[in-house]
Symmetry: C2
Subunit: 355 residues, 2 copies
């Protein structure tokens, strides 16, 4: 094994840079003091997100490749949530000296594969030693002449719609924490509860946690269709929906039956997690350890699916990839977000300094 400290910074970069995609907007790639990117729109969109070892990922479950995929995905989702098309990202990497160089080249491959669906480039970065792995990505996008879709534009009467998966990432993490699936991505066939484990389905959930695939094309499609507000779901549906409601000065009413398809997809995993010993509290939600409590926690409280939540005028046909899940209501008394007309009884999303 070659460790990072066995190579110079330049030797490491020589291994990384050839793995990175150029992207069609890149006028000057890595190697100089800065990259140069095209911004044909005369504006660009920019966002940054950081992943920290043992906060956002565990090195025993996530390979470098997984972390690269995830870093790209969660950043690209922020660009999609503005209705923009991702063009390029840059990456700062902090890595302990005893890290296998393969972890770092895996990260580069993961970034590349994460960028591929969007055609985005990876155009530069910085590399430093440090006590734990930190991956900070900054991503850019092009609005292609459209107005950005903000959190603040939802109007009473709009339809609330969702794109992507719900609760899969939280379910995947719970399966890993319960030891019901082993990572990196090698499922363990187990007999749990009533029947045989559907290991393929469970592996999809773990994959959704380790390598989320945000619905990037749905962001641009929503903007083109006239979405009035949109945001990336990274901290839990209720918490993020509350942010949209507050920014727009409205209330969000989710249908009681919203996310029924995801709920069924997750049920076998929820049953297994609820049955597993020592898991009285699923980690999200109201602390109910029954199957429906676990499902509620994953769907409404689980973060990091990086789906999109948007609002559309009621007369607009929803574009491909979007499902209606509720209505925007007038501001007024009561909670900013309701489920089936009632106040949710699941807790707030993740807080990085309290969890």
């Amino acid at each position: 094994m070659t460790r990072v400290r066995d190579l110079s910074e330049e030797q490491i970069l020589e291994r990384i840079v050839p793995l990175l995609p150029r992207g069609s907007a890149t006028l000057l790639g890595p190697g100089d003091d800065a990259a140069v990117l095209a911004a044909p729109d005369g504006r660009f969109v920019v966002s940054t997100d950081v992943l920290v070892e043992d906060r956002h990922f565990r090195a025993r479950w996530s390979t470098g490749y997984d972390v690269g995929r995830r870093a790209a995905a969660q950043n690209l989702a922020d660009i999609a949530a503005m209705g923009a098309r991702p063009t390029a990202l840059v990456t700062s990497l902090v890595v302990p000296g005893d890290t296998d160089v393969e972890w770092v080249t895996g990260l580069a491959r993961g970034l590349a594969d994460g960028c591929a669906p969007a055609g985005a480039g990876a155009v530069g970065g910085d590399l430093s030693g440090g006590p734990c792995l930190v991956v900070s990505v900054t991503v850019h996008g092009d609005l292609e002449g459209r107005a950005p879709v903000l959190r603040s534009g939802a109007r009473p009467g709009d339809v609330v719609a969702h794109a992507g998966v719900r609760g899969w990432s939280a379910a995947g993490l719970a399966l890993l924490e319960a030891g019901l699936v082993r990572a990196p991505l090698s499922p363990v066939p187990l007999e749990v509860g009533e029947g045989v484990v559907l290991e393929d389905a469970w592996e999809r959930l773990v994959s959704a946690h380790l390598r989320p695939e945000p619905p990037l094309a749905a962001g641009v499609a929503a903007a083109e269709a006239g979405a009035t507000a949109m945001l990336d779901l990274s901290d839990g549906l209720l918490r993020d929906a509350g942010r949209l409601a507050v920014a727009s000065g409205v209330r969000i009413g989710f249908d009681a039956g919203a996310f029924a398809a995801d709920r069924e997809e997750l049920r076998s995993a929820a049953r297994a997690v609820a049955a597993a010993s020592g898991l009285g509290d699923p980690g999200w939600g109201p602390g109910r350890s029954d199957v429906d409590g676990v499902l509620d926690g994953w769907i409404w409280g689980g973060g990091e699916d990086h789906g999109l939540l948007a609002t559309f005028p009621a007369d607009v046909p929803l574009p491909a990839g979007w499902t209606a899940v509720g209505l925007v209501r007038e501001p007024g008394e009561g909670p900013a977000v309701t489920i089936g007309g009632a106040e949710p009884d699941v807790g707030p999303g993740w807080d990085h300094f309290r969890a």
Copy 2:
């Protein structure tokens, strides 16, 4: 003292965001999934740099304010080195939960003051807990219709010129390490060697280390004057000059008397450091502990001054802030960089995984 873990992420952001400058290119600032920036040129320049506690700064010497100033400065210098005007930056911050919130608000103030000379905005970021302080900044700039000034454009016969200070950051660090000046920025009057310490001058050197002030305007001026190549000096003059030489396929010959003014500015500090016990090796350079050896190490090997090195056609008057320090030579046998025609006997610059 209020610690970071005593507040929610949103409460911390409420304290930070009002401290950040908006910048004239900012169309949409912090608070949504992404910021929107103007790119009137139809292109933009982007670079990223990370600062890690105990690698790039020590919390006992650098306040949050200092780290913010430094993070802004070193990133803005990369934009200036392309001949671009900085427009805006975003910041990822990793911070242990027991950190004083004042450190974080100080960082925001330092970023703001670092951005002020360039009129750049601070338009977004991300915040996470973690085991040590990590500040990752990504900065953007506008080329205003000019071609970017690359490392690869130097031609034989060009004049090599320098803007900014040389060796000050290394001298400031050495004064801190020797205990000759106390930080945060409270100089200790001491009798050293032949005479009374010039504490004001020393404090300037320590300030240059903790709060570097890159010659941002000189970057744009160089591009406008027709500089053929340029780069930011962050890893040591010889190492960075070597990069420019290799990228351009030329050799760089520094004059024997280059940086004479900086040398005199640094002499009293070098005398004190050489005289201080236990400092046989100054940390840079050839391991010579005599005054001229210390000076050579700081001038030629010291990093993080964030001055600029550029090459100009011989018939171009150097713009304000630039000093001629050498000539570009034809490629050929011998070292890529010489001083007074001879091979330098000082060591290479900093390597983050070896130092």
